[in-house]
C-alpha cells in the first residue's frame, strides 16, 4: 500500500513541477495575439493597410466614409478598436465623451503638393492658383500650418482627393461658382498621386508636405491617423494587439511585397482596403509613400499635441492616453 501511495505522490509532484514550468514559460513569453479577439474598424487607405493580416477576420471591417461610417460607431462605443484621423478621434473622446483612449499612431501623412508644370517661375508664390481638398479638414489645416495664409487669395477647394486628382490630370476644374479654373499647384495624397504621376508627364512633386511639417515642427512627425482602444478592453489584450500590429507594420515597411502575399487570393481586397495590394506595395516601396509606421501615443505626447493644436484641441487630459 505504502508503495502505491509513494508512487501516486511522486506522480503528483511531477505533474506539479510540469505545471510550474508551464507557468514560468508563459511569464517569460507573452501569448501571441489572436486576431479574431477584438472588433476593429478602420478607414480605407493607408490606415486600413496596416491591418493587411486581418483580411479574413470577420470582426475586422473598413469604411470608406470615416466621418459618417466610423465616427458615430466610436461615439456609440460599438467597436473595441477604432482607427480614425487623430483629431477626429480625440474630438470624439473630448467632446462626445467616447469611452476610448488613444494608443498609437499608425499613419504619418501621405500628402504631396504637385506642380502641374504651368507656373512660369516654378516657384510657389501668391499669384499662383492652388487647389486643395477637404476644406477645414486635415489636408487644409496642414497646408496652412506649413505655408501660412500667404496664398489664401488664390486657393480653391474640392471635396475629395479624387476630385483633386481629376483636376491634376485634366489640368482644370470647375469651382463652386461654376468657373473653369486652371490650377498651378494641386495638393494630392498617396496612392492617387502615383496614378496621376503615371498619367501626366508634366506633373511633378513640388513639396513633400510631411517633410515640411516636420521641418516646421522641430522634428516632430505628423501624427495623422491613430488607433483608439475602448476603455473596457482588458489591458493585456490591448497591449498584445498593439504589439502584434506594430510587428505587422514593421514587417510590411521592411518588405512591402508582404501586402501582395498576405492579400493574395482575397477577392474583395481592393474594396476592403481601398487600394489594390500591388499598388500599395509599389507606393510603400517608394520611400514608404503611404506614411505607415507605429508610434505609441503616450510616448509621443508632444507630437500628438502639436498635431492637435491645428484643430484648436489643447490641454489634453492624461487619461486620454493608453
Amino acid at each position: 500500500m505504502k508503495k502505491y501511495i509513494s508512487l501516486v505522490a511522486a506522480a503528483l509532484m511531477l505533474v506539479g513541477c510540469n505545471n510550474q514550468e508551464g507557468a514560468s514559460n508563459s511569464e517569460s513569453k507573452a501569448p501571441e495575439y489572436d486576431r479574431t479577439s477584438l472588433s476593429i474598424i478602420a478607414p480605407t487607405g493607408a490606415p486600413a493597410l496596416a491591418f493587411y493580416n486581418y483580411a479574413k477576420v470577420e470582426k475586422f471591417e473598413t469604411n470608406s466614409n470615416p466621418a459618417e461610417g466610423i465616427l458615430p460607431l466610436m461615439v456609440a462605443g460599438k467597436k473595441d478598436v477604432v482607427v480614425l484621423p487623430t483629431n477626429a478621434g480625440m474630438q470624439a473622446i473630448i467632446n462626445k465623451k467616447a469611452e476610448y483612449q488613444i494608443a498609437a499612431t499608425i499613419t504619418f501623412g501621405n500628402f504631396y503638393l504637385v506642380s502641374l508644370g504651368n507656373d512660369a517661375n516654378n516657384e510657389l508664390d501668391a499669384d499662383d492658383k492652388i487647389l486643395l481638398f477637404q476644406k477645414g479638414n486635415v489636408p487644409d489645416k496642414i497646408f496652412h500650418y506649413v505655408y501660412g495664409d500667404t496664398y489664401d487669395a488664390n486657393i480653391s477647394y474640392v471635396s475629395a482627393v479624387s476630385d483633386a486628382a481629376a483636376a491634376a490630370t485634366s489640368g482644370s476644374f470647375v469651382d463652386a461658382e461654376g468657373n473653369n479654373v486652371v490650377p498651378n499647384y494641386v495638393l494630392l495624397a498617396q496612392p492617387v498621386l502615383t496614378n496621376v504621376l503615371s498619367k501626366k508627364e508634366n506633373v511633378n512633386v513640388y513639396a513633400d508636405i510631411q517633410a515640411k511639417y516636420k521641418e516646421k515642427s522641430n522634428g516632430l512627425d505628423l501624427f495623422q491617423a491613430s488607433v483608439f482602444i475602448k476603455k473596457s478592453v482588458a489591458r493585456e489584450t490591448a497591449q498584445s494587439f498593439l504589439d502584434s500590429l506594430k510587428g505587422d507594420i514593421e514587417t510590411v515597411i521592411a518588405k512591402p511585397e508582404t501586402f501582395t502575399t498576405a492579400l493574395e487570393g482575397i477577392e474583395n481586397a481592393n474594396t476592403v482596403y481601398g487600394i489594390a495590394p500591388t499598388a500599395a506595395a509599389n507606393v510603400t516601396k517608394n520611400n514608404n509613400g503611404m506614411g505607415l509606421g507605429f508610434k505609441a501615443a503616450k510616448e509621443n505626447k508632444t507630437a500628438v499635441e502639436n498635431f492637435l493644436k491645428l484643430f484648436n484641441i489643447e490641454g489634453v487630459n492624461e487619461e486620454v492616453y493608453f
Binding site: S64, E68, G69, L73, A165, A166, E267, T271, A276
Partner: protein, 255 residues
C-alpha cells in the same frame, strides 16, 4: 412598313439605339479627358472584362440579396399595416401622419442613424425598407379600399366571415394594384441599395462598394463606374422582363 414601325419590339430596339446615340453624343461633348464621360465602346469593352470576373457576380449577388431582404421586410410590413388600413378608414387616417413623415424624411438623414443602429453592413437594407414600405403600403391599402363594396356585401350575405372576406375576396381583388406598387418600387429599391452602399462607406462585397472603389482608384477614368452601372442596368432589365412575363401569365389566368 407602318406595321414594322409600330411593332413593340422594333420600337424597343429603336429606343435602345436612341439611348446609345445620345450616349455617344454626350460622351463626345463632355469627355475632355478620355474617361471622365466614357463612350459606349469603352464602357462595353470594360463591361466585357467584368463579365469574366467571378467577383462581379459576387458583388451583384450580395447587393441583390440585401435588396431582396429589404424589399421582403417592406412587403411584409405593408401587408401587416396595409390590410387593416385598407379595411378601416380610421386606421388609414391614424397612420397618415406616420406615412407622410416616412415618405418626406430625407433618406440621407436616416442612413447615418442606421449606421449606428444596425452597422454599415445592414444599413442599406433599412434604407430600402424606409423608401419602399410607404409605396407598398399605399398599394395594399389603396387596392383594398378600391374593391367594390357590393362585392363585400354580397360575400357577407353569403355568410363569409370578416377574415374570409379580407383574405379570399378583398386581397385577391387588390392584387393588380399591389403589382403596380411592387413594379414601381422594385427597380427603385435596387438603385437605393447601391446608393446606400456608397453613402454608408460599406466596403465588403456589393456593387455600391465596388463602384466607390473604382472611382477612388482612378478618379480621372469613370469607365469602370459606367461598366458596373451597365452591369446593374442589364440585370434589372432582365428582372423587369421576368416581372412582365409573370404579370402577363397572371393576367391570362385571371381573365
Amino acid at each position: 412598313m407602318k406595321k414594322f414601325i409600330s411593332n413593340k419590339y422594333t420600337l424597343f430596339a429603336l429606343g435602345t439605339l436612341f439611348v446609345i446615340a445620345l450616349w455617344f453624343i454626350l460622351s463626345a461633348c463632355f469627355d475632355t479627358n478620355n474617361g471622365i464621360f466614357p463612350s459606349p465602346i469603352a464602357t462595353f469593352q470594360e463591361f466585357g472584362v467584368l463579365l469574366t470576373k467571378p467577383y462581379s457576380y459576387q458583388c451583384l449577388g450580395y447587393t441583390f440579396l440585401r435588396m431582396i431582404i429589404g424589399f421582403a421586410i417592406s412587403f411584409a410590413l405593408a401587408l401587416i399595416v396595409g390590410i387593416p388600413a385598407g379595411n378601416h378608414s380610421q386606421v388609414h387616417t391614424f397612420l397618415k401622419p406616420l406615412m407622410t413623415t416616412i415618405k418626406s424624411i430625407p433618406t440621407v438623414a436616416l442612413v447615418f442613424l442606421f449606421v449606428v443602429m444596425v452597422a454599415p453592413k445592414n444599413a442599406p437594407i433599412f434604407v430600402v425598407v424606409i423608401v419602399c414600405f410607404p409605396i407598398l403600403y399605399e398599394a395594399v391599402a389603396g387596392g383594398i379600399r378600391k374593391v367594390d363594396q357590393q362585392v363585400d356585401y354580397a360575400a357577407q350575405i353569403d355568410g363569409a366571415g370578416y377574415f374570409q372576406r379580407v383574405l379570399f375576396i378583398k386581397l385577391p381583388l387588390s392584387i393588380p394594384y399591389i403589382l403596380v406598387g411592387i413594379a414601381s418600387s422594385f427597380s427603385l429599391s435596387f438603385k437605393l441599395e447601391i446608393m446606400a452602399e456608397v453613402i454608408t462607406g460599406f466596403t465588403k462585397n456589393g456593387l455600391g462598394s465596388v463602384i466607390h472603389f473604382v472611382r477612388q482608384e482612378d478618379p480621372t477614368n469613370l469607365t469602370g463606374v459606367f461598366a458596373y452601372s451597365l452591369f446593374a442596368i442589364i440585370f434589372m432589365l432582365l428582372i423587369s422582363l421576368l416581372e412582365t412575363a409573370i404579370k402577363q401569365k397572371f393576367n391570362k389566368q385571371t381573365n
